[in-house]
């Protein structure tokens, strides 16, 4: 049911750089110039839901310069800056120190979507390693914050949605939480949506185990 999937819809709203292959008189507003013609060769940032189809759709016309080629498309596109080379190199070097959320709140969803549109074997390998190594770090933080090992309870009180979904540590958290210092806070702040879900799963698991252990006495 990905049609109704909120995260998929939000991911599709991310913009990617596109280059128009033809002149289009009525689309000047896409480049902040309503009323003007959008010239062939213009580089515009379009949301994926628009760019995806414009890139695939076939104009039906034959390329006059090279009739043997299959017909042109309206635009061509590139990977968004969030998946640019400097990000990839930074991830290769140290995946845990890159705040993915600063690149895109839907980093992995964005990347997997782009990989469906064009082959990116290097990106795929880098992302897999990134995802797995960051996940181990997430599990560690979830355990510390969820009270496993220490007697800390504060997280659950952080206001239902706000506390859990943001994964942020408040000042109170830092005071009583051993081991999760500023670096830990930064890491959690840099999690994208997929990673936040993982954090929530790990944290819920730890919390439920802790509650169970405490309740054994009450049987």
């Amino acid at each position: 049911m990905s049609y109704y999937d909120i995260d998929a819809i939000l991911t599709d709203a991310e913009k990617i750089p596109c280059t128009f292959q033809i002149d289009v008189p009525d689309l000047g507003y896409l480049d902040n110039q309503p009323g003007h013609t959008l010239k062939s060769g213009s580089r515009v940032a379009l949301p994926i839901w628009l760019a995806e189809m414009l890139a695939i759709a076939n104009t039906g016309a034959v390329d006059m310069d090279d009739p043997s080629q299959s017909s042109k498309s309206f635009i061509t596109f590139d990977l968004p800056p969030a998946l640019g080379n400097d990000v990839v190199q930074a991830l290769k070097a140290d995946p845990r120190s890159v705040p993915l959320r600063d690149q895109s709140a839907h980093f992995y969803a964005l990347a997997t979507h782009m990989m469906e549109l064009s082959e990116e074997p290097e990106l795929s390998a880098v992302l897999r390693k990134t995802f797995v190594s960051r996940a181990a770090e997430i599990a560690l933080h979830a355990r510390k914050v969820g009270g496993g090992g220490s007697s800390y309870h504060g997280r659950e009180g952080g206001g239902g949605a706000g506390g859990k979904s943001k994964g942020k540590a408040t000042k109170e958290d830092n005071a009583s939480n051993l081991g999760v210092g500023g670096a830990g806070e930064d890491f959690l702040r840099g999690l994208d949506e997929w990673e936040r879900k993982l954090f929530r799963s790990a944290h819920d698991g730890t919390k439920a185990s802790k509650e169970w252990m405490e309740n054994v006495k009450k049987r």
Partner: protein, 277 residues
């Protein structure tokens, strides 16, 4: 939603199921057999030991009608050995589960039997073995909580599937029956929990590399599974999604190669490239 719980069992549900495990009790009062759904409990004639399901044992303990004998693996020496194995001898894998009792009858040590001659698990341990019942219920018992891993005779040095739940229950409600001070056993258990949690976390690194990868969960306990299930499932699913398009391409190529080989022609003839507006 109708069922708001995630897939799998919750910790409370696991603990509930763990109460079906058999444990050894030393009765303080006589008690006749009770007809339960899975069979009949043994007659309790003090001071003879008997085997009962944990939930019944805990009830009797509360009513001061019996004492519970903790299984051998819970002894501090056994736990220390397990911790040693987990940390020093094999820091990657979890310690092995107890060997299956498919050959020997625990209540009659020294007798080996063929696999298919199991009675119901309760009858196996009751003194009043009804041979008619024995013939009626002939199933192989191969999984917890029906394996006899928490009775007094269970082998030491192995953590059974429900180790954490059974240990916590016994420590809390039968702490005075422990061979060693409950506090000592408890702290060893806590250490074990932390060591294994760390091991679970680091085991995920197996998924980093390219291509097929797997996590070995042999020896992991029920409670640990319940705790980590959602996380591990999410992790594996994420890895799957990241590799999804590469996988699809690989399969297409395989398919084309196969088709090309079979028909010996150009596999491209049906390609969908000319998709007009």
């Amino acid at each position: 939603m109708a069922l708001p719980l995630p897939p799998g069992l919750t910790q409370n549900e696991v603990a509930f199921l763990a109460e079906m495990e058999m444990v050894t009790v030393v009765p303080r009062q006589r008690l006749d057999t009770i007809d339960l759904l899975s069979g009949r409990t043994p007659q309790l004639r003090p001071p003879h030991r008997a085997q009962l399901p944990l939930w019944l044992a805990l009830l009797l303990k509360k009513q001061r009608r019996a004492n519970i004998v903790p299984p051998a693996w819970m002894h501090p020496a056994s736990l220390a050995e397990i911790i040693h194995r987990e940390t020093k001898e094999d820091p990657e894998a979890f310690s092995a589960p107890p060997p299956p009792p498919s050959r020997a009858l625990y209540s009659q040590p020294g007798t080996a039997r063929r696999l298919n001659h199991h009675a119901s698990y309760l009858d196996d341990f009751s003194q009043t073995q009804d041979s008619q019942q024995q013939q009626q219920q002939q199933q192989d018992i191969l999984s917890p909580p029906f394996l006899p891993s928490n009775v007094a005779e269970s082998p030491a040095g192995y953590l059974p599937y429900h180790w954490l739940e059974v240990a916590e229950a016994l420590l809390t409600h039968a702490g005075d029956d422990m061979p060693a001070p409950a506090g000592e056993v408890r702290s060893l258990l806590r250490d074990l929990v932390e060591v294994r949690a760390a091991k679970m976390r680091s085991s995920t690194s197996a998924l980093e590399g390219f291509g097929d990868a797997w996590l070995t969960l042999r020896g992991v306990g029920a409670m640990e599974l319940a705790e980590n299930r959602a996380f591990l499932a999410g992790l594996v699913d994420g890895v799957r999604k990241i590799g999804a398009s590469a996988e699809a391409t690989r399969r297409e190529e395989e398919e084309e190669a196969r088709r090309g080989g079979e028909y010996g022609g150009d596999g491209d003839e049906d390609s969908d490239e000319d998709m007009g507006l």
